[in-house]
């Protein structure tokens, strides 16, 4: 009887060891396969879909720079709020901030055609540019190439017909914006331009009431400042389909229904008032 028990135990041990070995091999195979297959990079958007995309990557093992929503593709969590930022540059009213505490994500990198604007077409040479011939009535001439590059231009929804391209864009340096004195402004500092008209918003933005900042919350802390064009599309700010200045977004999924409830129709039934 004892012998049988010993044999059974030995057999069980051998079987167990064999199973573990097979399982380990399988796991190794799977890991190798996963490593061999190139993963598609996860890209999500921050505030404005199509303009503020960020690619997910690991800053350190298991710690991504950003977590993306699987439902809507929105950025849901920041591992490093200062990832890919540069110092904001001089901004009136923010002189008291310590050096390097105001950061922005450069927008000019995202504007893929920007480096070409000033060299390929708006380069200041050629018969139509010498001397510069600009429409005197401040009505832009429809150029198909331009309209296909920036589709928003076909129907400019900003200023209700009271502004045109060169009120914001520099006449000769097309990779720059323009201030009241005709001096160029970088695309990374659109607040200097937008503040020309929207002074109250600029003041609120500077004081942290309007717009968004991420990083350290202390008033003199290191923050990434979201600039105007990271949330608003300057070419269609008054589009009719929106509400409260923002393009509509897909919402994240709703909360779990209470146990046993099939839908949330009870929420649509208003109790009679009073």
């Amino acid at each position: 009887m004892k012998k049988i028990a010993i044999y059974t135990l030995a057999l069980a041990l051998c079987g167990g060891a064999l199973y573990t070995a097979v399982a380990m091999e399988k796991a190794k195979d799977e890991a190798a396969q996963a490593a061999a297959e190139p993963k598609e990079p996860v890209v999500c958007f921050e505030s404005r879909k199509g303009a503020t995309e960020v690619t997910q990557r690991d800053i350190k093992p298991g710690w991504p720079n950003v977590k993306c929503s699987p439902t809507t593709g929105a950025a849901l969590w920041y591992g490093d709020p200062f990832d890919g930022t540069v110092p904001m540059g001089k901004m009136p009213g923010l002189e008291n901030l310590p050096e390097g505490h105001a950061l922005v994500k450069p927008r000019s990198e995202k504007l893929a055609i920007l480096p070409m604007c000033g060299t390929a077409c708006h380069n200041g040479v050629g018969p139509s540019f010498s001397p510069p011939t600009l429409p005197k009535d401040k009505k832009p001439t429809a150029i198909p190439t331009m309209e296909s590059l920036v589709p928003d231009l076909k129907d400019l929804q900003h200023g209700r017909g009271r502004i045109w391209c060169l009120d914001c864009h520099h006449t000769t340096k097309r990779d720059k914006l323009v201030d009241h004195f005709g001096d160029p402004i970088s695309f990374d500092q659109p607040q200097l331009l937008c503040g020309k008209c929207h002074g109250d918003k600029l003041r609120d933005w500077r004081d942290g009431i309007h717009g968004k900042r991420i990083g350290e919350f202390a008033s003199n802390g290191k923050k990434r400042w979201f600039t105007c064009t990271e949330c608003h599309n300057p070419h269609n700010v008054q589009d009719g389909e929106r509400n409260r200045g923002f393009v509509q977004l897909q919402p994240e999924p709703p909360p779990q229904l209470p146990n046993g409830m099939k839908d949330a129709s009870h929420e649509l039934v208003h109790p009679v008032a009073h």
Partner: protein
């Protein structure tokens, strides 16, 4: 610490809700009671005055429109939908109001806790020591803001999704049978960083700062904007302020 939220800006996208879940290690299962979210976003219909309803309303037949709008909601009535799910937000006919723990100065939940496991920290937030919570849910009943949740089941938190940066009074994984709620991301704010919901709000409606610093965002809002506290008549003195431009 203080918090302010611009209700005119909120578009009801619920990104704050899910950022909070990603940061604070809430249970995220699919079975009943396994999905816990601390922030709720209330969708409220816009009210309207209608000339044809001018003589409707209580008491019937007297030709007086009472309550301003005769059986249609108006303003911040806290009557609305939490489970709204349209294709896109914000909707034309709706306003949105996110609600979470208000971190009251006189918190009713603290008053009723029989084991004194929930209390107010010196810098503002009301916290819970989960180890001492007996799960009696007295605090859930006492909270006028529907802010507290209980783990009725064993919390579901996949290893890969856990946030490893934790705080004892904050987002450390909870056990079955304890109550939890928003604590203004103690693990972040004690290190000087914004709470997770502030960082993901795509419209910048959420503001956080030091109330004792006159230069902080929240102090500037209190100084400059129209501010109200939710259910102020209950004398709970929230440190969470709603404002509008």
């Amino acid at each position: 610490m203080g918090y302010a939220l611009n209700i005119r800006k909120c578009i009801g996208c619920r990104r704050c809700v899910h950022a909070c879940v990603a940061e604070n290690n809430q249970s995220r299962g699919t079975r009943p009671g396994e999905k816990i979210e601390w922030i709720q976003v209330l969708r409220m219909e816009r009210g309207m005055f209608e000339t044809e309803k001018l003589d409707h309303g209580y008491p019937e037949g007297l030709g007086i429109q009472v309550g301003g709008n005769a059986y249609t909601p108006a303003g911040q009535v806290l009557e609305g939908q939490f489970h709204y799910n349209p294709e896109a937000v914000p909707e034309k006919d709706a306003t949105y109001m996110p609600i979470a723990c208000m971190q009251c100065e006189k918190p009713p939940c603290v008053k009723v806790c029989p084991v004194r496991t929930t209390y107010r920290e010196g810098d503002g937030p009301v916290v819970i020591d989960y180890n001492w919570c007996i799960g009696c849910r007295m605090c859930m009943g006492a909270c006028p803001y529907w802010a507290r949740r209980i783990n009725v089941t064993t919390p579901v938190l996949p290893k890969a999704e856990m946030n490893p940066v934790t705080h004892y009074l904050g987002n450390r994984p909870r056990m079955r049978g304890v109550v939890e709620k928003c604590h203004w991301c103690l693990q972040r704010t004690r290190q000087g960083r914004y709470p997770a919901c502030v960082e993901v709000c795509p419209v910048g409606a959420r503001k956080f700062g030091n109330l004792l610093d006159p230069e902080s965002e929240v102090s500037k809002i209190l100084e400059r904007k129209n501010v109200f506290r939710l259910k102020a008549e209950l004398n709970t003195f929230p440190k969470f302020f709603y404002f509008y431009d």
